[in-house]
Symmetry: C2
């Protein structure tokens, strides 16, 4: 048994990775636990779902990331329990892991907010497997439709939720439909297929400046998306979304991008939880009565200053926590987490994106789009993935094609 | 209902694609039936199995291929029956397909030759799904081993069959083990893991010139593969291969690359079958008493001149059959199929391949390897796939890495 201070990091997302990396030269032993053997670049999941990129373009094997970091080990397993009193993490495989410091960076899961039918009738978009399931569902629906006399609403899609994920998903779908599926299925009425984006509040991208939300909605509409705002979803049935105002939208594919809650591990800790089950943290990102427990990224919230659930708070929080662990070992007090807002971006597809940057700077159209492309390439993990994504984006852009549309065979 | 001559092509492999393409400017209606919505570049399946390439690098959506060919339609479905009297193909979905000319190009399936235990205890390598299953099995075995006190033979692999697939698989595995898994799992005895290639006849690559087979075996041995030749496999159990001479080789992974037989559709036709269930064809590649039925590639055999079951006979046969269909429609007699031997190649991995070329020309070592790389890039379907494969190969070569090693989560 090592005598060194042991840090257990739960989750190898944007935040978890930064904690482990930040502890590279610190005299600790780090164990990172994730149920996947790979890190997922979540901002591009929608591109896998819309056949623009393949899974291994946006994922990176965790063991490869930490190969050279001698004080880090990886455990690929699900967390089943945390005993905060005994400072022990229980996992689906292997002995319980004792920790001196615990960093919870497990992110969020899709959440239905109590709306009936969501879990049975919609497809979430939170993991690589989710994205592949959406792609497979759409392609299988088209294949099935080639055998049907009446297509009905089978080819229609409803995307629930007008945040960045929903907007990007709707934009990606119009491109997949117009540029690819229309040509792949000349016998089907693809041009009549309706893609609807439903958002409960009055504006899409409601966390962005209002002018950008309006621009995004206008671009989506110009590209054929039916944008419905200001109406909450009442319930979801098999192939139908019912709105609060009584409208029913039939669709063969219903994507749920309307909301998330903290990963269930937050509930296991026995600490105070805030909105959407997020772990309440103090200004140094540690849990109030458990200074040995830090929480970062989407799973954490400082009620004094809630942050958006995107990559930057996780990345900056991860770096901050690594520094605090080092400070404590050196006998120094922890510092307040200072978040630097780097702005928000969302793409609507080809040549169009909106960016809400610090200092009131707003970008949209092709300039916003180029900024979006560059930043996503920059933050992608691994040089090979960057090259692959660049090649595929260039290909997609020049040919209007989407190559990643392989479908596992089925006999239904 | 169209009045045009209708050609139904079963299988969108190397042969089937060439038939459809060759009929582009002929006044026929072509329907290509495949259970997958993609064409598979089979020679590189072993690279998916060994994490060097991802699935969509070696597969190409069929609908994309025939998008611009107005006389071709695609049916993604399994063939369930062929009524050769009524000239009708029955499929798992959709109405039966009437044909005037049938082209059977369904290839082969893995075959156990009656050796007990093969289907229960080995992993075949015939499809994209097979390749992913092998990769997942190896990665899951390593992940599981990180939780075991005793690794035993869990990390060992036996590759059954010393043809090109077996040789390339064994070579790819040594690279995956030595260059990647050894670094990914510093706590496991990866250096002690044994990779064994078992071949019943006295030489690996027995269809090649003997000197090349010896070179391949020597290179494999130098890279740590235990090459066992001249001993047939008696039976396969759970984690063990038993040889005819009584030897038992334990291994956590057993890959079956020892043989194939014609796809089951050959049995449905009610025509004469040759060795391994292959459809017997005349010298114009049509079935003797059914001139309206052609068979090409791995599923067909002209007993007078059997051809190797590789890409070239299928490619050339497909082009030939398209020409014969056009000739018949023009009232001309069919021609004899003239096969041009372009030689055989197999790579053993990094800088090493053997090529047995026409005119007695033999290449090996780095020259053979470069020839192998170039030809495979050339024959790969689609410009995007070529670029992607080139990028990934360059990456793999320079970094010794294998990036495509994502594993779906499991709780076993």
């Amino acid at each position: 048994m090592s005598e060194r201070h042991r840090v257990v990091v739960i989750g190898a997302g944007f935040g978890g990775l930064r904690v482990v990396r930040g502890l590279r030269d610190v005299d600790v032993e780090v164990v990172v636990v994730d149920q996947h053997n790979f890190h997922t670049f979540q901002p591009l999941l929608y591109q896998v779902a819309t056949a623009g990129l393949d899974t291994d373009d946006i994922a990176y094997p965790i063991r490869g990331i930490f190969r050279r970091q001698r004080n880090a080990t990886v455990r690929v397993a699900a967390v089943t329990d945390v005993d905060i009193g005994r400072r022990t993490v229980h996992t689906s495989r292997g002995d319980p892991l004792r920790y001196d410091t615990l960093v919870v960076a497990a992110g969020t899961i899709s959440h239905d907010f109590g709306i009936p039918g969501v879990s049975d009738h919609t497809l979430p978009l939170k993991s690589v497997a989710d994205a592949v399931a959406i792609r497979d569902h759409v392609l299988a629906t088209f294949e099935r439709a080639t055998f049907d006399d009446q297509v009905g609403h089978a080819l229609d899609v409803v995307v629930c939720g007008g945040g960045p994920t929903g907007v990007e998903m709707a934009g990606g779908l119009t491109e997949l439909y117009d540029r690819v599926l229309r040509k792949d299925y000349p016998g089907l009425p693809v041009g009549e297929a309706r893609i609807t984006l439903v958002e409960a509040v009055d504006q899409v991208l409601s966390t962005f400046d209002e002018s950008l939300g309006s621009k995004a909605a206008a671009t989506l509409r110009k590209r054929g998306v039916d944008v419905v705002t200001g109406v909450p979803i009442a319930r979801v049935g098999d192939g139908v979304v019912e709105l609060d105002d009584g409208r029913r939208i039939d669709a063969g594919t219903i994507v749920w991008a309307a909301g998330v809650r903290a990963a269930p591990i937050a509930d296991l800790l026995g600490v105070e939880l805030g909105r959407s089950g997020r772990i309440v943290v103090g200004d140094d990102l540690s849990a109030p009565r458990h200074p040995e427990v830090f929480a970062i990224g989407d799973i954490a919230v400082d009620p004094e200053r809630p942050l958006p659930q995107v990559a930057q708070p996780a990345i900056q929080g991860g770096k901050h926590v690594a520094r605090q662990i080092a400070r404590r070992l050196a006998g120094e007090p922890t510092e307040r987490f200072e978040y630097t807002d780097k702005g928000s971006m969302a793409t609507i597809g080809r040549n169009q994106a909106v960016a809400d940057l610090p200092g009131g700077l707003k970008l949209s159209g092709p300039v916003g789009w180029l900024a979006w492309l560059g930043l996503h390439l920059l933050y992608l993990m691994g040089f090979r993935n960057r090259i692959n994504v660049l090649v595929n984006w260039t290909w997609n852009y020049l040919t209007y094609d989407r190559a990643s549309r392989l479908l596992a065979p089925s006999d239904d």
